[in-house]
């Protein structure tokens, strides 16, 4: 009789990687719609370029590694990386930006470390950071959200034809760009927050945290709630991250002086907060493993996010926070083992007793 020995986990859920990845793709739709309505067709172009690159690179590397190509392409993980990177890139960025970032993410950050499930760092965030470090000019050129009135002119996003020319032919987009709320807030010097809000178009036309961006964040929050409802991930990592960010913002918000670091609602609904909380820190491969570990992992990302936003050189810092905590995830895992069945409290590392 042949008894095969399997390692844990012995209980398998009916959910495949493919199903989980499909759910993530579905959940990005609200965010994509809002991004498109404010920033035009650019995000969709980004996602298309990134997806084609990702599938091409994935297939090529799988062939080189002599792995089944169809099997790994059908789990959609490369596509998810591409879509997340495409959402994070500035709309109407030159085409080679998405191609370089995605190729870097798939080939170096994912496959050189062993492929799906073995990558210690979030591939999409590696791609983003490589681009941010290498091409700061292109990566910081965000469009003005359409409908924003700056100095009497209403910002409009370019149509499809113009957009394609900007992306592929390298036409200048200077006429369309504006500082993001985080960027604008970072350069507030000497004004009370209240006065600054009144004087800055990004804020005086917005409702809570900057025109356009607040709705982008709310849309990603909705998508995230959908994923939570489908039990794609547990609440620990996102709540940890939002909690860490909220606490830091609470302790450092001094009621709106000129040196203030921004209110809680400003930080929660700005930049990549919600996108990160529900689509990046919930990555099962690169985050901590246990629920308690994920709470700590998320909270520390929130803290780093706030630290760099407030005192660092970059206006937003989700990618840096996530990558730094990716480093720390094994360390967190070491101190937060879940309770083993039949043993004492959780968090105790089981040592072999002396009688053994």
């Amino acid at each position: 009789m042949a008894l095969t020995r399997n390692s844990s986990p012995h209980a398998h859920g009916p959910r495949s990687t493919q199903w989980v990845m499909q759910q993530v793709l579905i959940a990005t739709v609200p965010g994509l719609i809002v991004l498109t309505s404010f920033f035009g067709i650019g995000t969709i172009i980004n996602i298309l370029i990134a997806s084609i690159t990702a599938i091409g690179c994935e297939a090529a590397v799988l062939k080189l590694r002599q792995r089944p190509i169809g099997f790994y392409l059908r789990d959609y993980s490369a596509l998810v990386t591409a879509v997340l990177l495409g959402l994070a890139l500035p709309p109407l960025a030159p085409w080679w930006l998405a191609v370089t970032g995605t190729a870097f993410a798939i080939i170096i950050a994912k496959h050189l470390y062993g492929g799906m499930g073995f990558n210690p760092f979030n591939p999409a965030m590696i791609g983003y950071v490589v681009l941010l470090i290498s091409f700061p000019l292109q990566m910081s050129a965000w469009l003005a959200p359409s409908g924003l009135v700056i100095d009497g002119t209403v910002a409009a996003t370019p149509g499809l034809r113009d957009a394609l020319q900007i992306v592929f032919a390298g036409n200048a987009i200077d006429g369309f760009t504006a500082a993001t709320p985080l960027d604008a807030f970072k350069h507030n010097s000497g004004l009370l927050v209240e006065n600054f809000y009144q004087q800055t178009p990004q804020f005086n036309q917005g409702r809570w945290a900057g025109f356009g961006w607040e709705w982008v964040n709310i849309a990603f929050l909705l998508g995230g709630c959908y994923l939570l409802g489908r039990k794609v991930f547990t609440w620990h990592a996102p709540v940890g991250m939002l909690g860490g960010l909220t606490l830091m913002a609470l302790f450092n918000y001094d009621g709106g002086s000129s040196a203030s670091n921004g209110s809680i609602i400003f930080h929660l609904l700005s930049g990549a907060t919600m996108f990160g909380a529900f689509f990046i820190v919930t990555d099962p491969v690169t985050s901590a493993t246990s629920n308690r570990g994920r709470l700590i992992y998320g909270a520390l990302i929130g803290v780093i996010l706030f630290l760099i936003r407030s005192w660092g050189n970059y206006p937003d810092a989700l990618a840096f926070g996530v990558l730094l905590m990716n480093f720390a995830a094994p360390f967190i895992d070491y101190y937060t083992p879940p309770r083993t069945y039949g043993h004492g409290k959780s968090g105790t590392i089981i040592h072999r007793s002396k009688e053994d």
Binding site: V130, S134, P136
Partner: protein, 237 residues
């Protein structure tokens, strides 16, 4: 001491036991200054000079220095040669000296040099020791050069730019502009690029080694399997 083969020494230094790709020694300058060919070549030559000098000197005094104090003695020797090199660079290639900055004096702490003094030069007569220093230095400089070339091409789109810093005015127009003026891929110039390219070079070396090994295995004659007795019954096929 057993007979040394110069062939073996050169093969070790350049390939089999390459200080950068196999021993992974001296990574600090390797990663820090290989942003361009001229920097890499400058530091490679400086290291080569120090390595040859220190290996020879260590070998000459190997019977006079007792074991207990050999490490400080070796470091003193290496520091002397490093200072000489530094002064030479200051005199003849001042701009390059300024660009390389702290990494010239840091050659003293390059473990590849102390490692060779300890592992080879202190047990060999001067000629093999000097030859070993030459080969190890060449191996190190070659890796620096390849790394610098790859990073310069991908990172800033140029090759052999500013070579006049090292070779004087005649090299002023050696530089090649490969991808246009606005090209720049900053991450390759920054430290992450150094780590990435070093890793890929090590992988490439391992692939080549594995292929060579497989080829050698394939050419070896395999012993015949099965019985060698002459078949005496049944049909002969």
């Amino acid at each position: 001491m057993s007979e040394v083969s110069y062939r073996e020494i050169s093969r070790n230094g350049l390939w089999n036991n390459n200080p950068a790709l196999v021993q992974l020694l001296g990574l600090c300058p390797l990663l820090a200054v290989t942003g361009s060919v001229v920097n890499a070549l400058g530091l490679g030559l400086a290291t080569l000079a120090v390595l040859v000098g220190s290996n020879t000197a260590v070998s000459l005094i190997r019977h006079q220095v007792s074991d207990a104090i050999r490490t400080p003695a070796f470091v003193m020797i290496i520091a002397t040669f490093t200072t000489c090199t530094e002064m030479l660079m200051k005199a003849y290639t001042y701009e390059l000296y300024q660009i390389l900055g702290i990494f010239i004096p840091l050659i003293v702490t390059n473990c590849a040099i102390l490692g060779r003094a300890e592992a080879f030069a202190s047990k060999q007569s001067p000629l093999p020791a000097a030859f070993d220093g030459l080969m190890m230095g060449l191996g190190f400089a070659a890796v620096l050069l390849v790394l610098g070339a790859i990073r310069e091409v991908i990172g800033s789109g140029t090759l052999f730019a500013n070579m006049d810093l090292l070779f004087g005015p005649m090299a002023a127009n050696w530089g090649l502009q490969l991808f246009g003026d606005n090209y720049g891929f900053l991450v390759m110039i920054l430290p992450p690029g150094a780590f990435l390219v070093t890793g890929l070079l090590i992988a490439l070396k391992n692939i080549i080694d594995a292929r060579n090994l497989a080829r050698i295995e394939a050419t070896k004659s395999k012993p015949l399997k099965g019985s060698k007795r002459v078949r005496t019954t049944g049909a002969i096929q």
